[in-house]
Symmetry: D2
Subunit: 422 residues, 4 copies
């Protein structure tokens, strides 16, 4: 959660509140009650659950704790929609979230409206700590907007009818990007981590701290689908030498042969997306790959993954902390790679796997209380991803952001950028 953060204008928070909440509604507008209810795997949650959980977060940590006289919409919802906050008591088992055909989508929307009315009504009277929790709640909701889309994508991918939620891309001639350039990074002592002067950061992004970098370079753009097809065709998925041992076990145990959602037909590779099944665009960054695949590709390409410090240090020089991100209810889709002699597509398009394990920054301490469970307790077994994706809501990306997933997970818009030692 925010450690040091000051609000400029009260109006901004209300405006932001309305904007974030409205985007969630817009993203879920095309869903049926059934679409919003089913859980496709234990890692994913139903859309209805996302809608309710982010609302429970605001209801609990803001309304319950900071607004006198607030009456909860339904006292049973705390059990249903707490995700993992042990301090908040017993909760419904994660893998059973898809059993909740009741309450209905309509009831959940009424829940949202109830909380929105109470919260916007109270916003003007909230003190700074409570306002900081509102901001945290909105950042939290933005995270769930991305998960909501990737969870829906996973669900729809399991339907043999392969339904599309959004319109398909217009057919356009593909311009393959030129060769990959190497951009030299800083060497020696650098500073990374959140410095407490930005508008918001999660607790795990700080503290600001020093790191040492060796001579190295980053690729100017992410690896493309076209390059990935070359990896496949060179036997990349069948050559043990490229793979981490755990990755090789995963490839063999799961029968992995391509990125998630890819299929091969006589017409070539296709991928499934929220716009249905479409041809793979060879110019666009590869996505829906695991850390294991990213690491194997880098090994095959005689390169390596960047460390988090290398990536974040390089990102400090990128002018626009923005890119191809989510602006509204449309299909998230990575855009073709760009040529150029500077770093491109650092923010947006695809989350970039780093070679850094998700462990605390030096000096990190979790916040006290339930919100302190937000990040710190997940710091084992996962890897850091940087930069944001085409499904990350605009405004939610920053250089210090630390996304994290297990090395086999790939239902997010995950890709990679190569690095090498100089």
């Amino acid at each position: 959660m925010a450690k040091s953060w000051t609000e400029a204008h009260q109006d901004d928070l209300e405006e932001r509140y309305r904007a974030v909440r409205a985007l969630t509604e817009a993203l879920t507008a095309p869903l049926s009650d059934a679409d919003a209810t089913v859980q496709s795997m234990p890692d994913a949650s139903p859309a209805k659950w996302h809608l309710a959980h982010v609302t429970w977060f605001l209801e609990t940590f803001v309304l319950r704790d900071h607004v006198a006289g607030y009456r909860p919409f339904d006292p049973r919802y705390a059990f249903l929609f707490n995700s993992y906050y042990e301090a908040e008591g017993a909760r419904h088992a994660r893998q059973m979230r898809g059993m909740l055909t009741r309450p209905s989508l309509t009831e959940i929307r009424a829940y949202r409206a109830h909380v929105d009315a109470a919260l916007t009504g109270a916003l003007g009277m909230l003190q700074q700590p409570a306002r900081a929790l509102v901001t945290l709640g909105l950042q939290h909701e933005q995270q769930h907007q991305e998960l909501l889309l990737t969870d829906l994508l996973h669900l729809l991918s399991l339907n043999p009818l392969e339904p599309a939620l959004f319109g398909a891309p217009s057919a356009a001639p593909v311009d393959l990007p030129g060769p990959l350039h190497w951009i030299e990074g800083r060497e020696g002592l650098v500073e990374i981590g959140e410095d407490g002067r930005g508008s918001f950061a999660f607790d795990c992004e700080g503290p600001r701290h020093k790191a040492v970098l060796r001579p190295h370079a980053l690729a100017h753009r992410p690896v493309t689908n076209g390059e990935w097809i070359a990896f496949i065709e060179d036997g990349g998925y069948r050559t043990a030498a490229h793979w981490l041992s755990d990755g090789w076990g995963w490839v063999q145990g799961e029968g992995i042969e391509a990125p998630l959602y890819w299929k091969q037909s006589e017409q070539g590779w296709t991928r499934f997306g929220l716009d249905g099944r479409q041809p793979v665009n060879p110019a666009a960054p590869v996505t829906h790959i695991s850390l294991y695949e990213a690491d194997a590709y880098a090994s095959w390409a005689e390169a390596r993954l960047p460390t988090e410090a290398e990536w974040e240090s390089a990102a400090q020089n990128v002018a626009a902390v923005s890119g191809n991100q989510l602006d509204g209810p449309a299909c998230p889709r990575p855009k073709p790679a760009e040529d150029g002699s500077a770093l491109t597509q650092m923010f947006g398009d695809v989350w970039e796997w780093t070679g850094s394990a998700y462990r605390p920054h030096p000096g990190f301490r979790a916040a006290p209380g339930a919100v302190g469970e937000y990040n710190g307790k997940f710091m084992s077994g996962q890897f850091v991803l940087k930069g944001g994706s085409c499904a990350t809501p605009r405004g939610h990306a920053r250089g210090s952001y630390r996304n994290f997933f297990y090395p086999h997970q790939r239902w997010q818009f995950t890709g990679l950028r190569l690095a090498k030692d100089l």
Copy 2:
């Protein structure tokens, strides 16, 4: 399927068609799209799937095969809604049925209307083999009506809100039944199995054949909840000596301590039903028990389960092949046991586990073609249940009926009647 069966009146079939199809609609009328979509376990299917599958059966084996020029509603439905007919080609994996948020419940209802229009329009012109398939399809739909209810019950039982689909019973004073009487059965050679003269029977109910019975008696009524509580309180679930070896492994592995849907509170035992959570009625037959539990109870009671031949032979003397069965969209609920010196509650209330494995009757041969897969291929590992339950549609019970489930399964309305050697 029916082996020898003649239609009396064409009108009857049409009338029956409309009645059976209408009951399915009525049973599912209270469901939301989400209620109808979720699959609660691999053994159960979503209501939407039941609605579509029974329709696919009629569409495929009647309209496609016997009505020239019929155009299928959607050619992709054959893949989605074939259950297990290998001869009909590839199909959607059973445990993935709950992923089908599309087609929607509304679309499935349109599918039903489409097939109903085509089939009732063609019915007058169908030849006898096709008409026999319509009858088979209706019997098949009746089976799924019962499964639909028990699958919904299982789904709703996993919702911590414990929603009720139907109204609750009115509170009434409980009259505990008097002592159990033993009704002597036939001895020596008897004939059981379907004799081909009834209005309909599934293929596995025949052929008619001789069996030898030893001196024995059946209890005049099923075991009640009150008696079951005595078994629990006597440590029945903790005493290995009562149990089959596989059953003891199941009790210990799953931590079984009571029938499915039962909970113990300070006020005593309650059970969950389609009318929500209610007190256990000690006068009603116990239900939602596995074969393992039924066998352990019988062992504890120094009795045994009846064989299928004993049960069916006894049932031949019961005047009304009917009882507390399903008549419409209301909560299925076993009725209190009756006193008396004759067999009571043989049909309806609860399916009665027998001690007979579900194996072919002597001389059984499966029908050729896809419908021949209806019963024969399930003849390993399962036990026969007789009589029908409160969720069995009226008209669907008969003495030769062979229901079958694995010995650990108990989400049906399953109970037991004791037998003993004389």
Copy 3:
């Protein structure tokens, strides 16, 4: 256990005791400590465990219960070597039997010698009930002699070196058997089950009871390897229509393509045995097949499996209740089929799967106490096999014998004989 059985001569029992115990020693003589310790799967037990368990059985039910002043060899052995007698208290978990590197094989042999000395010393003074328990213990040990060999076979089959425990067969020209003949069986009422007049029978073999048979015939000999190869080559393992539904799931889930221990090479099919890897003999009965495979084969051959009553009734006419059985420490190996117009190879060679579920004979009651757990509690989910195999000790076969295994199990010497309705 024996229900009605009288000992002719005291000397016979002692002689039998020495002979049975000596055969066990002879069978295990070629084993190293390691060979005797490892457990290859939960269904199998280490040889050392078999050696100790049968000894514990005699020590417990005879010496402890009937010989005053007997001191157990080691009081901790009751925990280690009780198999499944719940009435005898807590015991070592079955799947952990292979962890017992101590006590050593040498210590277990000392345990056997200790019990043998005590028991043969006491034998002359034992009363009839105790003597019946000695007989039961010897029959029990004979069962374990067969399991010991099949468990060793399974263990050695998992060793890439494929070691042979016994010498290989001499190469001999193969005489393929002539065509299969059908031998008509009895029709109408027959009597089967143990009649209490034989020298010994397990409790589950009785009581003697009537059964009704329809017109039918049995094949004069078991199905051969050569016939099985024809089944394989005709796509038998890839055609769903032949298979029970559970069987088809097993074939696909486990990737089954041939009997256990078979491999295909350019030179044709080979099988692994206690004599190492050898060519499949097309004239010998097929073995190491599951009930699922046997049933699928019968379906493919447009026949069926015999019922237990058909098989046992037919066996009553076979003169010699004996055949190719185990006589000493040599490789058990089914012998080539014989021509002829009468039933051949009914006893010995391979256990023959019947289509009958292993359920109690009418009127069966388990014996009281721990030995009552011997058979009755296993009466769910398994099928009956009849006749005995090449690994069944001579003298241990009889027509009423009921062997039983789960339908997927096939590490015993299991085969089949076809039946058909007339």
Copy 4:
């Protein structure tokens, strides 16, 4: 493997060869064939396999590749005893290692003698690269000496008889250590990693590189059993707030309540060791704990785990790179903690979990060829442990050593030392 390393004297290598190989023989001298054959879990290997595998390593990478005319002892052993070197071809499945009752322990000892004769005979003629591989092979064997002991401990712990391999400790009065002191560490830039000037290091220990340290301190000694009991008694294993999320799942899923091998009785806590079951010594360092437990303890103690850089930097000041390590065939047993104002027990006693994920040091590149698989491919999902244990052979510990295990594993002698920010 060694990247830069020069041999001083040829004689030393031969001497070292004999010493290392002899220790392995001595450690396994008390084992029976069965003890040496059984595999107690997939993570562990049989002693016989360790004996053969380290020999295969020398035979393959030294004798086969560098000694002309060498004839392998048995060409089938490459399949049996390759551990994980994909470049060396197909190999026996890891979890099936316990099925190898043949070759016998005696044969494996003959294999060792054969390779020893060939290798010591050739040693004088080997060039430096081959001599480096001999050194690597000996370091490799030392690693397996420790695994051999911990794998045996695990195996014997599963035997209800709880056999002791070595003599028990003499009962002695326990002196509880005084309070824990905090030793301030270096701040700012430090250098860690192997600098290529030592006598040997594995490839993953380098390259030497800079790291930045914040103000911090390390505890002067590891956490003791007595302190751990206080953690247990304070509900440490039942308080979610102390635990990493994955750790809490592990504690609940596995029912963890104490370190591995601990049991509670009326007389207090005992632990199982290679000296049998003994009372827990409250003065000795806690051992057989997972990273999850170590992290939860640190959280409870309001401290944290040291990073690898903090630990290694501190260790550079410790005079004796040695401690309570393995010197011969005796029971490894952590010694009571020492008081003092300097770091104690840094080397030996227990491996100390760090909070650092096992990832490559900056600039790391794996060696080419099969030996390059030695370390690099395991760099995901595991954590670094430092310092060595009472089961680490003397001479095998050094500050740059990077041991690594998954966060749930605890069958090694693993413990922890607290750290804190200043």
